[in-house]
C-alpha cells in the first residue's frame, strides 16, 4: 500500500476497538459469558433490567481490563461508572453502563512493528449489548418487520480501546489491529476474534493537506476483518478526497461498511441519538485500584508478543517481523522453538517445521523438542532428504515420538551413500542424453528431468542436494 492513497492528501485515522473480556461471567451479574450457546439462556434480573436488580462489578473483569491498560502502557486511575442512556431493544435497561470522564486506563501507547508509536487515549470498561436479528426486509434494519433479541451477550464485559488519531496509512491501521490482537490473546484478556465479534473495530477516518489542521472525520462501522478494515479506510479516504476536490464539505457522520459492494454508506442516525445524557451510575461505587493491586496484576503479566518476536528473531538470526516468527509467537510456540534449538536443533529448520507442521499443536506440541532437534540434524547431515524428513515428522506427530531415527528405519529411509547416488546419476545422464545436452549448454531447468530419473531409480531416497551437486560436478568435468 502506498504511503499516500491520493497524492497531495494525508490520511488521518483513529481506531476504536471493542474487545470482549475472557471472564466466566458477565460484568455485573453471574450469568455465563459464553459465545455460541442457545439464545437467551444466559439471562438474569440484571441482564434483563428487571425492576430492583442491582449490578455488582466482576473483579476478574477489572483485572483483565487492568492487564489491557498495563500492556498498552496506560496509567491506571481511580474511576467511576456512568449510565449512557438510549432506547434500543438490545439494552433492556434503556442504558448501557460505561465509563465516561473517569476511565480506568488513560494515556498509553502501542508500538507498531515498524517502530511507529500510536497513542492510546483511554481503555475503559463497559458492558456489551444483546444481539438483534432483523426479520423481513433482507435482514437489514431498513424495511424490516421487526427484530428478534437474544440477551446472552448483553452485559458481557468489554474494554473499549480508543487510539489517538496517529495512524497515517492503511498498513499502520492493519498493523495496529494485528499487534493489539496479539497482545490481547497473549495476556489472556480476550480471544479477540473479529469473525466471532469478540473484537470489533470502528475507524475514524479523515483526510487533510499535509500540515493543515485535522479534517472532518467520519466513523466507519461494521468492519469484520483486518482486510476489510484496510479496504474500508481506503474507500472512505478516496470518497472524502473526491468530495473535497469537488469543492464540497465532509459531513460528520457514522457510515456503514458494506463488504459486498466495497463502499461505505451513511447510517441515518438522528442528531439527538448522540445525546446520551450520561450521568453517574448510582448503583455502583467508585473503583480505586491501589498501588499494591496494580503491582500484583503487573507482576502476573506475561512477556508481550513484540518482545518475544524480537527475542526469537535475534536468537535464530531471522527478522523479528517475518511471517514464520509472527506465526510461531502467535501460537505461543516460541518457547518450544527455543528449547528445540537449545537441544541442538538447526534453528532455521526448526522454525520452518513448527510453522508448517504444528498449526494445530498449540504451545506444547506432542513431539518432544529434542526429538524435533534430532530430526533437523538428520536432515542437515543428509541422512534424510527434505521429503523424507517431512514424512518422518508426520509420523512423530502421530505417535508423539522423540526418535526420528527409529521411524526413519521403520520406513526404510536409509541414507544412500554418495557412491550409490553417483551410480544413479550416471545412469540418468546416459538415459536422458537430450536433457543432459541442454543442461551442459547452461539450461538449468533441464536438470529437472535428470534429477527426476535419479529419484525414480532410488525410490526417492537420494538426497536432492547431493544429486544436484553431483550433476554440477559432472557438468564442470564435461565442460
Amino acid at each position: 500500500m502506498s504511503e499516500q492513497i491520493v497524492p497531495g492528501w494525508e490520511l488521518v485515522v483513529g481506531l476504536e476497538v471493542h474487545v470482549e473480556l475472557a471472564t466466566r461471567t458477565k460484568l455485573f451479574s453471574g450469568s455465563p459469558n459464553r459465545f455460541g450457546d442457545d439464545a437467551n439462556v444466559h439471562i438474569d434480573p440484571v441482564t434483563l433490567g428487571l425492576p430492583g436488580a442491582l449490578p455488582v462489578l466482576n473483579e476478574h473483569a477489572v483485572e483483565l481490563a487492568m492487564r489491557v491498560g498495563l500492556a498498552l502502557n496506560c496509567r491506571i486511575e481511580p474511576c467511576t461508572f456512568h449510565r449512557k442512556n438510549y432506547f434500543y431493544p438490545d439494552m433492556p435497561k434503556a442504558y448501557q453502563i460505561s465509563q465516561y470522564d473517569q476511565p480506568l486506563n488513560l494515556d498509553g501507547f502501542l508500538d507498531l512493528p515498524d517502530g511507529t508509536r500510536i497513542g492510546v487515549e483511554r481503555a475503559h470498561l463497559e458492558e456489551d449489548t444483546g444481539k438483534s436479528t432483523h426479520v423481513g426486509g433482507d435482514g437489514r434494519i431498513h424495511g424490516s418487520e421487526g427484530s428478534l433479541i437474544d440477551f446472552n451477550r448483553a452485559g458481557v464485559p468489554l474494554v473499549e480501546i480508543v487510539s489517538r488519531p496517529d495512524i497515517r496509512t492503511v498498513d499502520q491501521a492493519k498493523d495496529y489491529v494485528n499487534e493489539l490482537r496479539a497482545i490481547l490473546v497473549a495476556i489472556e484478556a480476550s480471544d479477540a476474534k473479529m469473525e466471532e465479534g469478540s473484537m470489533r473495530v470502528d475507524a475514524n477516518v479523515s483526510v487533510r493537506r499535509p500540515g493543515e489542521p485535522l479534517g472532518t472525520r467520519c466513523e466507519i462501522k461494521n468492519v469484520n476483518s483486518v482486510r476489510s478494515l484496510g479496504r474500508a479506510i481506503e474507500y472512505e479516504a478516496r470518497r472524502q478526497v473526491d468530495l473535497l476536490e469537488a469543492g464540497d464539505r465532509i459531513r460528520q457522520e457514522t457510515r456503514h461498511w458494506n463488504e459486498s459492494d466495497g463502499r461505505t454508506h451513511t447510517l441515518r442516525v438522528k442528531e439527538d441519538a448522540d445525546d446520551y445524557r450520561y450521568f453517574l451510575e448510582p448503583d455502583l461505587v467508585p473503583l480505586v485500584p491501589d498501588r499494591e493491586w496494580i503491582e500484583r496484576v503487573r507482576s502476573a503479566m506475561p512477556v508481550l508478543p513484540a518482545a518475544r518476536r524480537a527475542a526469537l528473531g535475534a536468537f535464530l538470526g531471522v527478522p523479528a517481523d517475518s511471517a514464520a516468527v509472527w506465526t510461531v509467537v502467535d501460537r505461543g510456540q516460541d518457547a518450544y522453538v527455543l528449547a528445540s534449538v537449545d537441544a541442538g536443533g538447526v534453528g532455521e529448520r526448526v522454525l520452518v517445521y513448527v510453522q508448517q507442521a504444528f498449526a494445530e499443536a498449540g504451545p506444547n506440541p506432542a513431539v518432544p523438542a529434542d526429538g524435533l532437534a534430532r530430526l533437523t540434524v538428520m536432515e542437515r547431515s543428509g541422512e534424510l532428504t527434505a521429503t523424507q524428513a517431512k514424512d518422518v515428522l508426520a509420523a512423530m506427530l502421530e505417535t508423539a515420538s522423540a526418535d526420528p531415527a527409529a521411524i526413519a528405519r521403520s520406513k526404510g529411509y536409509e541414507a544412500m551413500d554418495t557412491s550409490a547416488i553417483a551410480v544413479a546419476v550416471d545412469e540418468a545422464i546416459a538415459g536422458e542424453p537430450a536433457a543432459w545436452g541442454k543442461y551442459c549448454a547452461g539450461e538449468e531447468k533441464a536438470a529437472g528431468a535428470l534429477v527426476g530419473r535419479v529419484m525414480k531409480a532410488t525410490k526417492g531416497q537420494a538426497d536432492g542436494k547431493v544429486v544436484t551437486a553431483l550433476l554440477q560436478e559432472r557438468r564442470t568435468a564435461n565442460g
Partner: protein, 100 residues
C-alpha cells in the same frame, strides 16, 4: 423563569426520555427544575475549596464479586412474560419505525 433552564431544554430532555408532556406539564416541570438548579447555584456560591468531590454518598470503593457463575432465569418463564417471542428470542417492533 430561571436563567439555567428553558422550556425548550425540558421539552428536549422529555423527548430523549420518551416522556409525553402536555404544554401544562412543560411549564410546571420547567419551573420545578429551575428551582432545583437555583439551589445548586446556592451551593456553588459557597467556598468548597477544601471539600473533596464526591461521586456518591456511600463511603465505599471497590465493591466487587468473584467471577463465579450463578443460576440463570428460566428462559421459557421469562419469554412467557414478554409481549411477543419467536425462536426463543424477544420479538420487538421495527426499530427505525419507532418515532424518536
Amino acid at each position: 423563569m430561571s436563567v439555567h433552564i428553558t422550556r425548550a431544554d425540558v421539552a428536549k430532555v422529555a423527548k430523549l426520555a420518551r416522556l409525553n408532556m402536555s404544554e401544562a406539564d412543560l411549564d410546571r416541570y420547567t419551573e420545578q427544575l429551575a428551582k432545583m438548579l437555583d439551589h445548586f447555584e446556592d451551593i456553588d456560591a459557597l467556598d468548597l475549596s477544601g471539600v473533596e468531590p464526591m461521586s456518591q454518598p456511600f463511603p465505599l470503593v471497590n465493591v466487587m464479586r468473584p467471577d463465579v457463575e450463578q443460576p440463570t432465569l428460566d428462559r421459557d418463564e421469562v419469554l412467557a412474560m414478554a409481549p411477543a417471542a419467536e425462536q426463543h428470542r424477544f420479538r420487538v417492533p421495527p426499530i427505525l419505525g419507532i418515532d424518536l
